[in-house]
Amino acid sequence: MEVEYSKDAEMEKLLEDLKNSNVKKEDWEFHDNYKPVYSTGNGLNRKVVEEISEIKKEPDWMRRFRLKALEIFESKPVPTWGPDLSGIDWENTNYYNRPDEVNANNWDDVPDEIKETFNKLGVPEMEQKYLAGSVAQYDSEGVYHSLKKVWEDKGVVFMDLDSALREHPDLVKDYFCKAVPATDNKFAALNAAVWSGGSFLYVPKGVKIDMPLQTYFRMNGEATGQFEHTIVVADEGSKVHYIEGCTAPRYDKNSLHSAIVEIYVKKNAQARYTSVQNWSKSVYNMPTKRAWVDENANMEWVGGSLGSKVTMLYPSSYLRGPYATTHNLNVSLAGPGTVKDTGAKALHLAPHTSSRIIAKSISIEDGKAIYRGLLRMNKGAEHSRSHVQCDALLINDNSTSYTYPHDEIYEPTATFGHEATVGRIGTEELTYLRSRGLSEDEASSMIVLGFLDDVMKEIPMEFAVEMNRLIKLEMNKLGAVG
């Protein structure tokens, strides 16, 4: 394996952090004792769906939409082409957990126990330092949202989707389940039936937001399902960066996370979506994420997939207008006992479109990392270009990696390339670094970070630090690496 060493000062600082950090699992896998105010109990049926809609006092179209989606969900089989999903306990999952009536726009109004949880995760601190606005969701409902006034004045809308449905019903209706229809797959149908929370972000024409906006999702209850639905609309000529962070405490029973993320990037707009998920190892993470990218617009997906028991995630870009572009950068960490079935899809539907996909995975112990991707160039996508690169790093002898790209080209003027490598930390690289005085651990970490460098440098600093700590932590547990 070839490794390029980053000379980046920031990376050096990260390495320093890494050396000094002494993180424990408890830092995020704690759980508080907050009891939900309302819960639909376990199991899913028509009544539960109607109840959710009732509590939320939703418009009738949404109630009917949910019920239709439930039928679709019930008619679709559990997919069998990927990882084993038999551990999902559909009957004993709690599909809706409501923390409290409160949805504050000031942290002081958030119930103490919940606030304490977000404090521990550092959410309010980050908001102050780096963000243009933020939303916090606890189990099924948003508990906090804020947006800096300067953006509110320019017509930006940023709140949880439930609030948006009340305050901007027509806007929501225009975009809800358009890019990801309920018929897309079983988990999308489930989300459409029982969705709760998620963010709604609308950036008006020409508005360029220079600070990121962030949502933090926290799943607290045992055997809970979290089904947030997020919609980001970047109107013509606008620019936005939206970030999501996700954590959950560790329980014995499995939890299910099945989100929908829909992103609409209009003509000449630029959108970046960054997500770092660190669900605990009892979570099945099954989101459907998709972007519609119009003429000369750019969509960037940046992802760090660290936690969960099983993740199946293939963020897609539909390049619908000429000169639309997309970049997809993803890091997956398949820790012991976990499966990461991740990848990307790019569909070139117009001329002169381009896509670039970089996926990196690390498998530790019996962790299994799978790259699964689709690249499609439709007839008429003239002079479009695409390059897909996926690299896997195996840490231990029993680590495994699978690569299943799928490339369909119907257009003779298109150019497409794909490369994949699988390797492990080379003894020579390790020896070289150690001969310069690094310990074996430091040397391995440095090589791992070098391997991840192309993607890491695109991830916001505070998340990158968190990811580095986690990777280090997973590797430390194994003792000597290499």
Binding site: N398, Y404, G417, A420
Partner: protein
């Protein structure tokens, strides 16, 4: 398909009956693949059960035309008759039909043929229903050069099974050409299995150039013992529908598997070309390079999987596919895969699909070469450079001929 067991009993009731029966059971048990829900898997060359029935119950029809064999052939097969040059049958080399081998070589058949039912659904069926095919045995340390030419009636439908066993330290060069007579639309299934002894060397040159109505299904397997080296050159040019599946079974430590494949799809042809390695041997290596050229309304899919098992310490596996998509109505698809179950290995795959590189065309034109000629040269070079490694004049000539005969029409649709 239900009445097939009856057919087995009456028509194919030979020494291989139990093997045929077990293979048929395996066929029945294996599910028909349905990946409709998967975002990434789709079968483009679909062989329906109706077609498989044609293959099962088809007849070996008599041909009115007489076959024209390659002048250099020393092993000629016409429908079910074989003619072997005496020069081949020396020092214990056996070349006969499978049917004959069941009677004359029971030990070898029992050791190599019967234990292996296959791995895939259609492969099982061919192992149950084969009607003809060759049995070749090359003793230890022998050196043989076989130039086989098989000609079949294009309207016949049948399954055949060929087994080639070559002993340790043997060296074999085998040129294997398949063509047809007539313009029929038969369906031909064949399994070709190689069993390579320790430190053996095998060069296999395969050419399929059947008439355009034929449907061709081929499974090739190489069972390689330690330090066995197998070099495989394959060319697929004919047939309306081609399913070509090649997979090494490298149980031997230090075994080596190299594949250089070339295929041309023109008109309405559909080709599904799969080259994979399955490696268990320590320090085994596989290097697969496949090139495709797509013109007209044809489609080509390249698949290849490098599978490095837990035991395959220090193994390497490489797969590289490149397809030139030259026409507006053509379709190209590549589906490489890596399944790596051992960290002490190196593996890599790459694939690309594109038209010819315009910078290259411009460079040739700037020296006075016609646009069309330049495109022909670049295309021929693209496939020729792969097949030239076989060092076989006839094969090299064929490939250049195929590339050049794509003619001006192949390039009309570009720009």
């Amino acid at each position: 398909m239900e009445s097939y067991p009856e057919t087995l009993k009456t028509r194919l009731n030979d020494e291989a009956y139990e093997y045929r029966r077990d293979a048929f059971l395996a066929f029945l048990k294996s599910p028909v693949r349905n990946y409709k829900e998967s975002p990434t898997v789709k079968d483009y060359v679909e062989i329906t059960d109706d077609e498989l029935q044609e293959m099962l119950y088809g007849e070996m029809k008599e041909s009115k035309e007489s076959p024209v064999f390659s002048e250099t052939a020393n092993l000629k097969v016409f429908n079910e008759e074989i003619t072997v040059s005496d020069e081949l049958l020396k020092e214990g080399v056996v070349v006969t039909t499978m049917e004959d081998a069941l009677k004359t070589q029971p030990e070898l058949v029992k050791k190599y043929v019967f234990p292996r039912l296959g791995k895939e659904r259609i492969e099982f069926l061919i192992n149950s229903a084969w009607r003809n095919g060759l049995f070749i045995y090359v003793p230890d340390s022998s050196k043989v050069s076989i130039r086989a030419h098989t000609i079949n009636n294009s309207s016949a439908s049948f399954a055949s099974k060929t087994v080639i066993i070559y002993g340790k330290e043997s060296k074999v060069r085998y040129t294997d050409t398949y063509s047809t007579i007539g313009q029929g639309t038969g369906i031909h299934g064949k399994n070709i299995y190689f069993f390579g002894g320790e430190s053996s060397k095998f060069d296999y040159l395969y050419l399929q150039d059947k008439s355009e109505g034929v449907r061709d299904i081929t499974f090739v397997k190489q069972y390689l013992e330690k330090f066995a080296e197998f070099q495989f050159f394959h060319i697929n040019h004919g047939s309306s529908k081609t399913l070509f599946v090649d997979e090494s079974q490298q149980t031997g430590n230090g075994s080596s598997f190299r594949v250089y494949g070339v295929n041309f799809s023109t008109g309405n042809q559909k080709m599904d070309i799969r080259d994979s390695s399955f490696q268990e041997g320590e320090e085994s290596n596989a290097d697969i390079q496949v090139r495709g050229v797509v013109t007209g309304s044809s489609s080509t899919i390249h698949r290849g999987n490098i599978d490095l098992e837990e035991k395959a310490i220090k193994a390497t596996g490489f797969y590289d596919s490149k397809i030139l998509l030259l026409s507006k109505d053509g379709f190209a698809n590549s589906k490489p895969g890596l399944e790596i179950k051992n960290a002490n290995t190196r593996s890599k795959h790459g694939s690309s699909i594109s038209n010819v590189d315009e910078e290259q065309i411009f460079y040739l034109r700037s020296r006075g070469i016609d646009d069309q000629v330049a495109r022909g040269m670049v295309t021929a070079g693209f496939v020729g450079s792969i097949i030239e490694k076989a060092n076989d004049e006839e094969f090299t000539r064929k490939v250049y001929q195929y590339a050049e005969s794509l003619g001006a029409n192949a390039f009309l649709a570009t720009n």
